[in-house]
């Protein structure tokens, strides 16, 4: 039925026809937009399929463990492409994010073979990797027999490729030459400012350019707006409080969480620079932060921005992205700005969260699973997600250059592209990779809470915390 149109799409995919020509031609052929989209994806898939035997594991059945997340939704929307291309059957279990990682830990620690691949964050691989629960994917990526030639691994942003690989040595630099690739980046978020333009205009301020300005401007906003508070940042008793804006600003001043010497780790949160940063951050929260700050997670920070209870957030850019749509009161009012906390820094150094796909080491169909992984992280699927679904941020440079994607974002989310482009070069994980990541970072958050509640002073508190951390490192044989 669509044979003539198929030819059009093939020409487009083979770059013999421009997008405009394609749209005109399909319009003339009377194709609806959705049919055109479907055929385009098919053509791209066929091109993908042409040089590589995608059908090698035909008939296999794979099972995925997924988090309830827009990235998973995007993949499910496109899953038919995978099934028809490889002849594989695929099913999945979706769990809500609140309990997702508990399920993953439980499944992996019991040696379950039920799931072949699953979603994870990079930090979790610092646990799963050394525990032997996930497979080093280098053996697949580097093998031309297993990976299709158009995969273009180098297209994935270098900071992300490095941040998802670790050699397992505590303190070992992420992305080192001997690093194991524990997971494949799928979608990521970097930390910057999302702000309410209307509120900013009302008070007459611009997005801050460094930490000092941020403290000042948040205070001004809190005072002059008569209701909303100036700056939303996370504060719950969790590693996730240190990870977003806090660490991004912290790293911008060149501060570290640990120093590594002779393979031994030592806490570095009590340097003079760190103490100064903490003092400013704590004061900012006390003066202009959310009133219930110490219970604030991703959700509260976002909800407040979306409902007009806060003027800006220093958190994941995609959080600001989501709050600018849906049924949020402030949708359409939000703007985005890159942020470098250090006035002397040349560019932002945002810490990142990378949702990735990992392979269960206890799985029984690793080669077939790799086929799924390379499809789900392919250029084609990334483009699909970026153009058609809410798949931000894509991890591939080529997708960020894609016109259709850029136009879509620019139209509804002004400033978003700029904040990303400016920040992407410096976007990576600034934590030191070590097995005690969760314990110690949660401890850090706990102490931050005590500082904000004025239970402990900043300077002495950090000294005590560093000593406690050093002790724990020594007990675990790391320090």
């Amino acid at each position: 039925m669509y044979d003539k149109e198929k030819g059009l799409f093939e020409a487009f995919v083979a770059k013999k026809m421009s997008r405009r020509e394609l749209i005109q031609a399909t319009g003339k052929a009377g194709l609806s937009a959705s049919a055109a989209g479907f055929l385009l994806t098919q053509a791209q898939t066929r091109a993908m399929a042409a040089d590589f035997d995608w059908m090698k594991y035909k008939g296999s059945k794979l099972k995925l463990l997924l988090n309830k997340h827009p990235y998973a939704d995007a993949m499910i929307a496109n899953i038919e492409t995978f099934k028809s291309m490889t002849g594989m059957d695929i099913s999945w279990d979706i769990f809500p994010e609140d309990v997702y990682f508990d399920k993953v830990t439980a499944a992996l620690s019991s040696g379950s073979t039920e799931y072949d691949a699953f979603m994870t964050g990079a930090y979790m691989t610092w646990t799963y990797g050394p525990a032997g629960w996930i497979t080093d994917l280098n053996e697949f990526i580097k093998d031309p027999a297993k990976t299709n030639p158009n995969y273009n691994w180098e297209d994935v942003l270098p900071g992300l490729r490095a941040s998802t690989s670790w050699n397992g040595v505590p303190g070992g630099e992420l992305g080192s030459a001997d690093a194991k690739q524990w997971c494949i980046p799928w979608g990521y978020e970097l930390n910057n400012i999302s702000y309410n333009k209307k509120m900013f205009d009302k008070v007459g301020v611009q997005p801050p350019k460094n930490l000092g300005e941020m403290v000042e401007i948040s205070a001004k906003l809190t005072k002059d707006l008569g209701g909303p508070y100036g700056i939303g940042v996370r504060g719950s008793r969790s590693w996730a409080t240190i990870h977003p804006g806090f660490l991004s600003g912290y790293a911008n001043f060149g501060e570290k969480d640990f120093t590594v010497a002779d393979g031994k780790l030592k806490a570095a949160m009590n340097t003079a620079g760190s103490k100064s940063f903490h003092a400013d951050w704590v004061k900012m929260i006390q003066d202009s932060g959310p009133k219930n700050w110490s219970t604030y997670t991703w959700y509260q920070v976002g909800t407040d921005l979306g409902a007009g209870a806060s003027a800006m957030i220093f958190d994941a850019d995609i959080l600001g992205y989501f709050m600018n749509g849906g049924d949020n009161k402030e949708k359409g009012n939000l703007g985005y700005a890159p942020f470098a906390a250090n006035p002397n820094a040349s560019a932002p150094t945002p810490n990142v969260w990378i949702w990735s796909l990992a392979m269960n080491n206890a799985g029984t169909q690793k080669d077939a699973t790799w086929y799924f992984l390379q499809w789900a992280t392919s250029v084609e699927h990334d483009l699909f997600g970026a153009r058609k679904m809410d798949f931000v941020n894509p991890v591939r440079a080529s997708v960020w250059k894609d016109e259709e994607f850029r136009n879509r974002i620019d139209k509804s989310y002004p400033g978003y592209l700029n904040q990303h482009d400016v920040s992407a070069p410096g976007a990576k994980i600034y934590f030191t990779a070590q097995p005690l990541f969760f314990d110690l970072t949660t401890l850090w958050a706990e102490n931050l809470q005590k500082m904000v509640a004025k239970e402990i002073p900043v300077d002495e508190g950090l000294d005590t915390m560093a000593a406690e951390i050093d002790k724990k490192l020594a007990e675990a044989g790391l320090g």
Binding site: G111, E114, T303
Partner: protein, 285 residues
Amino acid sequence: MDHTSTFEKTLRGVLITLVLVFFLFPIVWIFLMSLQTNETILRIPPSLAFTPIIDNYTALITGQLRTAAGSLQLNFMQNMFNSVLLSVCSVAVSLVLGVPAAYAFARFKFRLGEDIAFTLLSFRFAPALLVLLPLSLYFKSLGLTNTYVGLIWVYQLICLPLILWIVRGYFEDISPDIEHAYRIAGNSWWQTFRKISIPLAKPGIAAAGLLAFIFAWNNFVFALILASADKQPVTVGALAFVTASGIQYGQIAAAIIISITPTLALALYAQRYLVEGLSMGAVKG
């Protein structure tokens, strides 16, 4: 019984009203939230003026959620089914095992009696977290992972001790005389148990069964760890509305209201039996 002064009556009325307000206000609030969109819920300051919508309920029941980004599949009714199945079966099994056992402890002084009773109670001491990892390992080797049977078995840890000790208390309170009278009249032990003991202890059995049902219904950690997505109970289902693109309070509220309904229906049905404590009191003394 008529020496309750008007002062007392008013005081009683005021106190009951306060109690009802404290416990039911949040429920009413949740119900109101279930009829609103997220945007109206998150207003500053919160307000009671809104136009009710039933979209949240239709989304949950039909399984289709229309959002700005398109249509999402929901699985909530499957979660409801799981919860009903697990709770009903677990309580049924616990009653069948627990009521006779409670009778035994109450009526007979047998060696090891108290030890067995205490052991059965002690299963409630084990925090779930203690046994989760070993349990998942053993389930795996026994092939019980992701089975209703496996979960119902684990749920006995929650329901059985409760039913046992509550019903035991009731049996202890029933005077043995009427049972002896029935036995003397020529009935077997089993007939006595069925026709006399159980009916007399109905309030206790009803209360225990209802409470066991509630605790089984609200438990989710065992299902989470030991089963796959298709067997998850309502609590996990409701948590799915805590998404990266925002907490869907309206849907969570609707989910809570829907998930309360079966338990409420059961409670209303059981309240008949809870009342019958009166007749039992007449037997004693």
